[in-house]
């Protein structure tokens, strides 16, 4: 027996909130493929209802900042240049709209959603909104469906070769809210690395649907800029076929509210999925990593590695799940979530779950929370390292396991250098 998912209670307050929000969403009566998908997404939101604080999946994060009709922040965010030094193909998205010429090289077909949506039929239509809809199976994710319905732009990326150059997506905004929806489709044996930086809006929502075919590789690296007043909710929906590899890492060195959800379905044998994140929280910082990995094939490996360093009342949340479906034998599942609380006001709230229906598996998870190691600090101080530097060094070493998840050493160096710089810049 595999338990059916428990749907959230459709309280009147929830449905009232939802219909008020949907009043502002167009009805999408266009005949194009994209509008059809958006209308279906709108229907999903209507059926599920927007999240409210009483929903189990929002136990530790108040969804109000995402569901309020008006965003609470409206500041501009300039484009960042963390990956400027990486030899990458760059696309700029300003206020949620793709700008400038798109790079076209052999094996890489990139179109903007706005352009692609005007076509009658499109290669992205079997993926756009489809992986998101499938990702609603075990847990309802109404915000993702809302983003699918609202996003007018994003990148439709089709990869047919192993592209050595990373594709860099840079966001910038003059303020307000933005919804962006990307689709990445990797053909068998293809490969792509995506670097994401900047913010699409002061309240930004991003969906990324990634279909990784047999033997294909997808690497994803994301660095969120240090902007205090911004709210961000992102969803990654990945589908892995046999021998596929998926790796994603996110660095969040500041900000107000973040909810990063990742839904990874491993459908083919011998596939690998790694998802990792590190965050530095200060003050009014609330960072929620919610991950759901489903193993539905044999001989697959998944890893979830999340590290949170928090101070001045910052909150770190981790909700992780490994679901091993019947017959997904020889699964190797690993999940670690750790927090380093630099003072007494900060909080770490975690719900690391395992749900396992196959017997020949090795699944484990660990979760720890504590203060900085006084002995290590004392050692560094006795060697003449100033207190603040010593704390930064220990913070870096604490985050190392997550950063090691970045496969490309050059890119890992860039992320590490950026992290060091952020650490030394803060008071």
């Amino acid at each position: 027996m595999v338990f059916p998912p428990k749907s959230t209670v459709k309280s009147k307050a929830k449905m009232d909130l939802t219909s008020a929000a949907l009043d502002q969403v167009p009805t999408f009566d266009g005949a194009g493929w994209a509008d059809k998908a958006r209308a279906a997404a709108r229907d999903r939101v209507a059926a599920m209802g927007l999240p409210v604080g009483r929903d189990e999946y929002w136990k530790y994060t108040d969804p109000t900042v995402f569901t309020d009709t008006d965003p609470r922040f409206d500041g501009a965010v300039a484009a960042s240049d963390v990956f400027a030094g990486a030899d990458a193909l760059t696309v700029t998205i300003v206020d949620g709209a793709v700008t400038g010429d798109l790079p076209q090289i052999d094996g890489l077909d990139i179109q903007s959603l706005a352009d692609a949506a005007t076509a009658d039929i499109h290669w992205a239509q079997d993926t756009f909104g489809v992986l998101e809809a499938a990702g609603q199976t075990n847990v309802e994710r109404p915000l993702a469906a809302m983003t699918t319905a609202l996003a007018q732009d994003g990148l439709m990326i089709q990869v047919t070769a192993d592209i050595p150059q990373p594709l860099r997506i840079v966001y910038a905004t003059a303020g307000g809210q933005a919804n962006v929806h990307h689709v990445v489709k990797l053909a068998p044996g293809a490969g792509l690395t995506i670097l994401e930086e900047g913010l699409a809006g002061a309240r930004a929502a991003t969906n990324m649907e990634v279909a990784v075919a047999d033997g294909a590789r997808f690497d994803h690296l994301r660095v969120v800029p240090v902007v205090a007043q911004r709210d961000l909710n992102t969803h990654i929906f990945a589908r892995l076929e046999a021998d596929a590899t998926f790796r994603s890492f996110t660095l969040t060195p500041g900000g107000a509210m973040t909810r990063n959800e990742a839904v990874i379905d491993i459908l083919g044998d011998n596939a690998t999925a790694h998802i990792a994140g590190a965050c530095l929280g200060d003050g009014d910082f609330h960072h929620d990593d919610t991950v759901f990995v489903t193993h539905d094939a044999v001989d697959c490996e998944s890893r979830q590695v999340f590290k949170k360093v928090l101070r001045n009342g910052a909150k770190g949340i981790f909700q992780g799940k490994i679901l091993v479906r019947p017959d997904a034998q020889k699964t190797d599942g690993y999940q670690i979530s750790q927090s380093l609380l630099l003072d007494d006001d900060s909080q770490f709230l975690a719900k690391p779950e395992l749900e396992i229906y196959a017997d020949d598996v090795a699944c484990s998870h660990g979760s720890t929370s504590g203060a900085i190691d006084e002995d290590a600090l004392f050692y560094l101080r006795s060697r003449g390292v100033p207190h603040a530097t010593a704390v930064d060094l220990l913070t870096l070493s604490f985050m190392a396991e997550a950063i090691e998840e970045i496969a490309d050493p050059d890119l890992a160096d860039i992320v590490l250098a950026h992290l060091e710089q952020t650490l030394s810049a803060r008071q």
């Binding site: 609380l341 630099l342 690391p352 395992l354 598996v361 203060a371």
Partner: protein, 500 residues
């Protein structure tokens, strides 16, 4: 097992043991005894009836009625990872007592021999002698006082006189309500309030009996106390309430056992256990839960919805929950510790075995409120057949619980590819001087270990039982000795038919 083929070189003792272990559910028989029932269904009148049957004072009735009125407003929780047909709360009896218990017997000698025989057959002696689970000890060294609860009433409590000498009160809760109202009123519902959850509220309204223990300051209870719960009547829910108060610097070890006859229709059991610990007090609470699990096709069995909580109010108080959960069709049980007193400690050791169609959703809550509090959780879940076994737990470090410590280890073992093992821990840390560590693993029975046992001449089922016992060792060691032996055997019985 009569046609058991004995291989050469297997000694007689082993054969006996395997025979003894291979009975299916050993306690599935019923006692043919004349019963008195309250009318079927649940209403305010039934609550009044239960209260009047127990000859209760007005304050107790008022408390029950308040709980009942609250319960009517509540919705049955559905968050646990268990799946069972909706319970019709109007289609069962809430009170059943043997006719012979209408006039409460003055002493154990007056108790209906059929009832005494029932407990004898279960291996529970209500004679005042020191035998439990077949372990004989010199009389002075090991005594166990027993409170025997049969359906809705307590049949009798042994060693009351001797305990009284030490100042210990050990009696049924219905007696305590009459004889020690000041203690009951002061503590009942203060750990698990009647508003706590659906089943605790139901229990508050309709509980019929249970055990009451009070250990006065400075007293180390001279013997182990135990309650044996037996559900016998058909279509009857058992709702017992246990309240244990360990006053300053006292100590008690309390054992709880439960069985029920094999019936086709599932039966409800919703108990509440409240433990109160004052300064420097210590309670060890051990449970071997062996309610009828339903047959191998999932028919019948007990729905076990239990709320157990210990409130470590005093500084340096210590509570230890140990549970071996092998029975019940559906288990929903989270013995918890509220670590309020400074330097108080909570421990939770659990073995939960689910075989055939059993479903277990069990775990603990450790709520750290006081400074320097410590907790330790060791949970071993075993799934076989098509069973589902979930560990669900909470570790919460409140902002004021400075310098506290938690260590959690949850291991799951899967036997067969049709069962499930799940882990749902909640970890909430709200200060930085506390350390919380949680680890969990899920794996199957190790082939190498099995092979080794098989090469030594064990059959597959024996080998699995041995490996599983090894897997559970840390928890078994935390049990009092008699229970540990019973538990080891239970582990083997519960896994009956899970291999091959």
């Amino acid at each position: 097992m009569d046609d058991l083929q004995v291989k050469d070189g297997v000694d007689a003792e082993t054969v006996e043991q395997v025979k003894a272990l291979s009975g299916e559910y050993k306690y599935g028989w019923d006692t043919d005894i004349e019963m008195e029932y309250a009318p079927k269904g649940l209403s305010e009148d039934i609550v009044r009836l239960i209260s009047s049957k127990n000859d209760e004072p007005q304050w107790m009735l008022d408390w029950r009625l308040a709980a009942y009125r609250r319960w009517v407003q509540l919705e049955e929780p559905d968050w646990a990872l268990v799946d069972y047909p909706k319970i019709d709360f109007q289609d069962q009896y809430y009170y059943a007592r043997p006719k012979s218990m209408v006039e409460k017997p003055k002493s154990l000698d007056d108790v209906d021999p059929k009832l005494l025989e029932t407990y004898n057959k279960l291996g529970i002696s209500l004679k005042e002698q020191a035998i439990l689970a077949g372990v004989e000890m010199p009389e002075e060294e090991r005594k166990v006082a027993v409170d025997a609860v049969f359906d809705s009433v307590s049949v009798g409590t042994t060693f009351q006189a001797e305990l009284k000498k030490a100042g210990v009160i050990f009696c049924s809760i219905s007696e305590a309500i009459k004889d020690h109202p000041e203690l009951v009123q002061k503590y009942l519902g203060t750990v698990v309030p009647d508003s706590d959850n659906y089943y605790a509220t139901l229990n508050s309204a309709v509980f019929s009996d249970g055990s009451f223990v009070y250990i006065p300051p400075g007293v180390r209870c001279p013997m182990e106390l135990s309650t044996y719960f037996r559900i016998n009547a058909e279509n009857t829910g058992q709702f017992e309430r246990t309240l244990i108060i360990a006053d300053k610097e006292s100590y008690v070890s309390y054992l709880e056992g439960c069985t029920a006859p094999q019936r086709d229709v599932a039966q409800l059991h919703a108990a509440v256990v409240e433990l109160v610990l004052l300064d420097d007090a210590e309670i060890k609470y051990s449970t071997v839960q062996n309610w009828f699990p339903g047959d191998e096709n999932g028919k019948g069995g007990i729905y076990n919805f239990v709320t157990k909580r210990a409130d470590c109010r005093g500084a340096r108080s210590k509570v230890m929950w140990t549970q071996v959960e092998t029975g019940s069709a559906v288990t929903w049980k989270y013995p918890s510790c509220i670590l309020r007193g400074e330097e108080s400690q909570g421990e939770f050791y659990s073995i939960a075995i689910a075989n055939n169609h059993q479903q277990a959703d069990t775990g603990t809550k450790m709520v750290h409120l006081g400074k320097n509090t410590k907790s330790r959780i060791v949970s071993k879940g075993i799934s076989a057949g098509v069973a589902q076994n979930t560990y669900r737990g909470l570790v919460s470090m409140h902002p004021k619980a400075k310098d506290s410590r938690n260590y959690t280890q949850c291991d799951s073992l899967l036997i067969g590819d049709k069962c499930g093992a799940h882990t749902v821990p909640y970890i909430e840390v709200k200060n930085n001087s506390s350390r919380v560590e949680h680890e969990a693993t899920t794996s199957k029975v190790d082939d190498d270990q099995l092979f080794y046992c098989r090469s030594r001449g064990m059959d597959e089922e024996e080998a699995v039982a041995l490996v599983v016992n090894g897997f559970c060792k840390e928890v078994l060691q935390a049990l009092p000795m008699e229970f540990a032996m019973e538990a080891q055997q239970l582990v083997a019985i519960s896994l009956e038919g899970s291999v091959g």
